[in-house]
Amino acid sequence: MSAGSRATYDVVRVRKDFPILSRRLAGGDQLVYLDSANTSQKPQSVIDAVSEHYQVHNANVARAMHQLGTESSQAFEEARDKVAAFIGAPSRDEVVFTRNATEALNLVANVLGLAQGDLGVRAGDQVVITAMEHHSNIVPWQLLCQRTGATLRWFDFDDDGRLDLSELDELVTERTKVVSLTWISNMLGTVNPVSQIARRAHEVGALVVVDASQAVPQMPVDVATLGADFVAFTGHKMVGPTGIGVLWGRRELLAQLPPFLGGGEMIETVTLERSTYAPPPARFEAGTPPIAQAVGLGAAIDYLSELGMAAVAAHEREVTAYALARMREVSGLRVLGPTEAVDRGGAVSFELAGIHPHDVAQVLDSRGVAVRAGHHCAKPAHTRLGVQSSTRASFYLYTQPEEVDALIDGLDYTKRYFGGS
């Protein structure tokens, strides 16, 4: 990313694409939306794509023989092509549509439990995760281990929110069947060295699953060179609609894995006694899929591609660096996670001494500043840092430095409001 092209990133113009950003809140305040790691806002082009699909093309996919059915199917499959190109998937058949990243991760965990042969997870096997995972990359593996008798292990992380890789060779061994980790932590913001961990995992014959829910929205992704075997992410965090997620999986692995859910469209042929199954990706897409949502995700990808993911990542880094610098000025504020914008995503969780995150978020909300408070579905990560909950501000391609200033002003006000406690 050259400095020249970075200068062309015009956040003010970008913001004009997002109608919600200009709305006023109940008290007449301007919205300052700092909760994009939770869900991102949507540009007009995505809203229009979903709306136009319902207005003009709506029909079920792959089943309807009429013109609308053809148009709908085409639009749905075009979205798959766009996803494949966007993440560098070698084949479009490696892109499975799900409801969200949670379903994508559950899909992998379930079919690995069901798989016969080498891929199957069984008693005595080990599954390795990290202590900084979102609950959606913890609970499915706990369930898998409980069902199969496999053992769950995890990487710890240090006080700066960096994974402790000194244990890599002890944790990931011949007994390891799966290593599943987040690329960018939704709580700490840490960018993890996926390729390095994947190399070790593959040395010992383990599969690598990556939760890229925070990564795909923020930076250029190339699954072909990442080193992962499966990558999960969700549409709504990347300016797309809710209800659409993606599981990318290496073709030869998907081809060997059994179905997750049974139903329409995932079959080859059905008799009352038994069925045979369609090849991937259809095998993993039982029932009517989220069609308009896939179309919306396609439009989101067009939007992101036009901005350029390198430019999006550079903007994210700049805003995050600015926020971290300004947060240093706030006495009593402790950032949970890396305090420098190096190998770091745009979510910053923090504590404000003596004031509960709920109260921080409430006071900020009264000034139009929307942040998240709680454990952000990463309770073990909070426990590791010895905190019960935190406040999180997260930035995205439409965040301006002025909004970081509004956050900082709001935090000063919060301290005064609860002053003397």
Binding site: Q362, S366, Q388
Partner: protein, 158 residues
């Protein structure tokens, strides 16, 4: 919506100086309740003396609303007749679920009327109810345990 509507002076006072805090002996039942949305936790003990709420003690981590609310609860129910305390719990629950349309009875709910504004902040109702639901759970357990002990004693006598 005004912040002061939520954070009444009384609430902030209880938050800064909570009453009845700390776990005490003796007690008849202890419960742990959590708010899964935010991870707030309360461990709460109830001690009954015949039909009177003799003590409510607790250890809790949480926001100003949840902390102040359990402090107020203690003030209200300790020393009260069990049925009366249960009725107050019901009234507080009705107030919290009333979307701001329920007029609280200050003579009965005392400091707890300060939480009337919380009912207009749907995200915070669970915070206000955390301690109260824990208290009800612990009290029901304490009563059940006492009934079980009494019937066992009767069986022994007969």
């Amino acid at each position: 919506m005004s912040l002061d509507m939520l954070y009444q002076e009384i609430i902030l006072d209880h938050y800064k100086n909570p009453h009845h805090r700390g776990l005490r002996e003796p007690y008849d039942a202890q419960v742990l309740h959590v708010n899964p949305a935010c991870g707030d936790e309360i461990t709460l003990r109830v001690h009954l003396d015949r039909d009177t709420v003799a003590d409510v003690s607790y250890d809790a981590i949480g926001c100003s609303i949840s902390q102040a609310s359990v402090s107020v609860l203690g003030d209200l129910v300790i020393g009260k007749d069990l049925d009366e305390a249960m009725a107050l719990q019901e009234e507080f629950l009705t107030l919290m679920q009333g979307q701001g349309k329920v007029q609280p009875d200050e003579d009965r709910l005392e400091d707890a009327v300060a939480f009337a504004g919380v009912a207009r902040f749907p995200g915070r109702i669970k915070c206000a109810l955390l301690g109260w639901m824990a208290w009800k759970d612990a009290t029901v357990q304490a009563v059940a345990r006492r009934a079980a002990t009494a019937s066992a004693a009767m069986e022994e006598e007969s």
